[in-house]
């Protein structure tokens, strides 16, 4: 199967949630030292609820598209709902089979999320 499905390319070229969130309550930046890709994630909580999520980063199509998809997914969720978020939730959104090396790219924003809400 092609890695670069229309869906992924669309998120990459037209990100919905890119940019810093004003008044963010949670924030983390992570990078993959092996390839230099990085993702910075911001969350704004109202009580327990994520009212806004945003990201910024540099890297490959997978890491950037996955960051945008994750941010979109996070809005409206409660901290409780995402506290133990499974990597498969994100991989399902990405929707393509990934080898071990590319898996790290797609999961980079998840590392940022876990750090941010720790």
């Amino acid at each position: 199967m092609d890695l670069y499905q229309q869906n992924i390319l669309d998120y990459y070229k037209h990100p919905r949630k890119s940019g810093e969130v004003a008044g963010a309550t949670h924030h983390c930046k992570t990078s993959n030292p092996l390839c230099g890709d990085n993702v910075e994630l911001w969350l704004k909580l109202d009580g327990n609820k994520i009212v806004k999520a945003g990201w910024q980063g540099e890297g490959c199509v997978l890491s950037q598209a996955a960051s945008d998809m994750l941010s979109e997914y996070l809005e409206g969720k409660t901290i409780l709902e995402i506290k133990n978020i499974d990597k498969n939730v994100l991989l399902k959104m990405v929707g393509v089979e990934l080898g071990p090396n590319r898996l790290k790219c797609a999961l980079l924003p998840l590392d940022a999320l876990r750090e941010a809400i720790k």
């Binding site: 092609d2 890695l3 670069y4 990459y12 092996l34 390839c35 230099g36 890709d37 540099e58 590319r102």
Partner: protein, 404 residues
């Protein structure tokens, strides 16, 4: 260009599954020649036993095969004698051995001179030794076009300099180092020269006597031989003065409960059961290179270098990392592509059956110096063809269409 299709002598490349593979990751590791695979297989099936000390015929045959490999490798790089050839695990292992042992002889404040093109394998072991013995690291700078700048060599090499460790060819820029002026500057101040020939050895003939380097290292897997074996060449007097690096069976002369004395070189540096079949394979790989002949290697690769440089620099948005003229340069092409991340490019190329590598290629400081996080690297060797480069160019254009 070579007339005979040499690709067909490499079983993996000749297999039905890989008939359409453009394998362009040879700077990382090469495919194995038929003769290497056959020699190792024959050895395991017909003459395998542990080497040394066994008096039965199989042990003697295995010992002879292993020691003959040492003779072949000594001839391959023109060492003074086979005892100057130490079999190791790989280049990294060889460099760690030299760095950790030789630095014991130095005083705090002494200097080690490296270059800015070094692979982590010829940088990190020296960093560690420098920390341990309070030595200072200095670097021969690389110019913006990717060549070593030797204009300050006489300042950099001073009477504090104890070791000059330098790569004979860059695994990123493709440049072949002018070793002679570096070695003579080092020897003028009495410094020992360590040459990392991991990248150079399948691209250019090496004559350690003519170079007059003190140590030289390389790996079999980058020259059509097996993984798991490397070489450390050292001049006899220097090897004799060096403390062993690992201890155990095979490297001792006499052992009592509380102390031991060391065997002579090369055994002193070969503790434990060595990579025996791998030595047989390595020797075959050296013989394969010699059978093709350096003239053929050099002219084939010069054509690939010229063709690659011409075709790649035609692509708009492609920025070559390293010199764009073919002088003193091999067919290794690292580059960035506007709007396309190296990982994505490598993935698209893979979907088109073209194997390249993306990342920092174990040269992080070099990438950082040029403000690059990662590059894509296509590296050719004797079995590559102009068609492989055409396929690469086509693949790059496909990626541009997809992402830009």
């Amino acid at each position: 260009m070579l007339k005979n299709n040499i690709k067909s002598q490499f079983p993996l490349l000749d297999s039905p599954e890989n008939k359409n593979l453009a394998f362009l990751d040879n700077a990382a590791s090469t495919q194995k020649h038929e003769s290497v695979l056959k020699a190792m297989d024959d050895f395991y099936r017909g003459s395998y036993a542990n080497i040394h000390r066994g008096v039965y015929r199989l042990a003697e045959a295995a010992t002879a095969a292993y020691e003959n490999a040492r003779v072949t490798i000594a001839q391959f790089i023109n060492a003074g004698e086979e005892a100057e050839i130490i079999f190791t695990r790989n280049t990294t292992n060889s460099l760690n051995m030299v760095a950790s042992s030789i630095c014991q002889q130095f005083a705090p404040g002494d200097e080690i001179l490296l270059t800015e093109i070094e692979h982590h394998a010829n940088l990190v072991p020296w960093q560690q030794a420098a920390k341990h013995y309070q030595l200072k690291l200095k670097f021969i700078p690389v110019t913006s076009e990717g060549r070593l700048d030797l204009s300050n060599i006489s300042d950099l090499c001073n009477n504090k300099t104890k070791v000059v460790a330098v790569s004979a060819m860059s695994n990123v820029l493709g440049t072949i180092t002018e070793l002679e002026p570096i070695i003579s500057a080092a020897h003028k101040v009495g410094a020992v020269v360590v040459v990392d020939a991991a990248q150079a050895v399948p691209h250019t003939p090496i004559d350690v006597k003519k170079l007059d380097c003190d140590f030289l290292t390389f790996s079999a897997h980058k020259m059509f031989g097996p993984s798991g074996i490397g070489v450390l060449y050292g001049k006899r007097s220097l090897l004799e003065a060096l403390e062993p690096f690992e201890f155990g069976g095979g490297m001792i002369s006499e052992v009592t409960w509380n102390s031991s004395t060391w065997a002579d070189i090369p055994e002193k540096f070969e503790a434990g059961t060595p990579p025996i079949a791998e030595a047989v394979g390595l020797a075959k790989a050296a013989e394969f290179i010699q059978s093709v002949g350096w003239d053929n290697f050099l002219s084939h690769e010069a054509e690939l270098t010229n063709y690659g440089l011409t075709e790649l620099t035609k692509i708009s948005g492609l920025h070559l990392f390293g010199p764009s003229d073919a002088k003193n340069r091999g067919p290794v092409f690292a580059f960035t592509l506007d709007g396309v991340h190296p990982h994505d490019l490598a993935s698209v190329l893979d979907e088109n059956n073209i194997a390249v590598r993306s990342g920092h290629h174990c040269a992080m400081p070099l990438h950082r110096k040029f403000e690059l996080l990662a590059t894509t690297r296509a590296s050719c060797t004797i079995y590559n063809t102009k068609e492989d480069i055409d396929r690469l160019v086509e693949g790059i254009k496909k990626a541009q269409k997809l992402f830009c």
